[in-house]
Symmetry: C2
Subunit: 210 residues, 2 copies
Amino acid sequence: MADHRQRRKPGETREKLMNAALELVGKGRHFASLGIREVTRQAGVVPTSFYRHFRNMDDLGLQLVDELGLVLRRMMREARGNVLQADKLIEESVGIFINHAQSNRNFFLFMAQGLAGESRAVQEGIRSEMRFFASELANDLRRLRLAEHLSDKDLDVTCDLVVRTVAFSLTDLLGVAVEDDYQVDQIRKRTTHFLQLIFVGAANWQSDKA
Amino acid sequence: MADHRQRRKPGETREKLMNAALELVGKGRHFASLGIREVTRQAGVVPTSFYRHFRNMDDLGLQLVDELGLVLRRMMREARGNVLQADKLIEESVGIFINHAQSNRNFFLFMAQGLAGESRAVQEGIRSEMRFFASELANDLRRLRLAEHLSDKDLDVTCDLVVRTVAFSLTDLLGVAVEDDYQVDQIRKRTTHFLQLIFVGAANWQSDKA
DNA sequence: CACTAATGTGTACAGTTGTTCACTAATGTG
DNA sequence: CACATTAGTGAACAACTGTACACATTAGTG
């Protein structure tokens, strides 16, 4: 009777559910411990609605990974547009990365969790996104003529290490409050230091190889 | 009547419970998603026994972190004893690390999960273990006169990066089957390559700073 | 050897979970 | 505009959850 079930935009509930999961992750919960009822409750939706959009929680996780890919691509685009001088490349990139990580906090939290998560598929998806990211980075470095003395393989390893290092910094960043400027700045400096160390290593690689 | 409740060695059930949790983690479950009943079932113990040893699952996690510390210390001791020549230092250390990671698989799996886990305390505990590990590594490098041109701070950052890199490799390693020799060897080579890159960077650090 | 603290057990209960089902409203297609 | 499809709802269920309680057994103490 007083039944105001109304369908608004298509896919709206789907988004609400995905956001709800991210919100719970943002509140400190681990994705692997979330239940269907919990997510639907947070989304303000009846439990059965879940099945209209996802087969189970793993499925939801997979679709989150897809969206994560979009976030990463946006970040790359911005980095490519804003990094002008090569000498400030590292500082600027780290800055952009930290900004994105802060404004998409829950997404990156989900990513950090998923790396050692319980769904093999989600794990593989995130790894795949990281590989893509690394290969794009390698392209950029080639394009900017910043890695001319490195073999393809060595460049690949270097970029992989860079991406891993940044991903690990992510877990530092997500462990401190967004408004804790001091700590955030510490992480920024340390991450920059890491990357500089790696690039110095890459720059001196061949010669030391003998 | 036929009530064979018997107390064997003290702390035996405690161990059984901790092992049970690790076993479940080893089977692909995420620690954050484990329940008390589930763990006690796996341990072959009645649910109420759990409370004799732990206040809740977080508490169990914390105690696992403590044991993890012991495992890491054992690994360090072995590395210190077996790494003879400085020129093979990286290869040998990576080898020892991989061996330990394989034979204490579930422990390291737990560690990898806990880094982005749901209990802040566990997270902090693991981080603390990693810091300790890094500082010990710094001591060793100093002792071996392998980092004489680096400031304390730069050495600290370098060792931190090394530990993070190895920890990340851990997640690669735990993602492949123990008996998949080819993949394990790939990971070993890649990790070695990472560390060499970092050490080349460290060796050329000051000069490039200017 | 008696006694106390520690440990293990069985039962119980209220709350939550995932999932199914039949039903209804809105949407977009022809 | 009829109609099939999609999306949302509520009630129901059996299975499982964490936790509390009273009780039984053991270990180690003096």
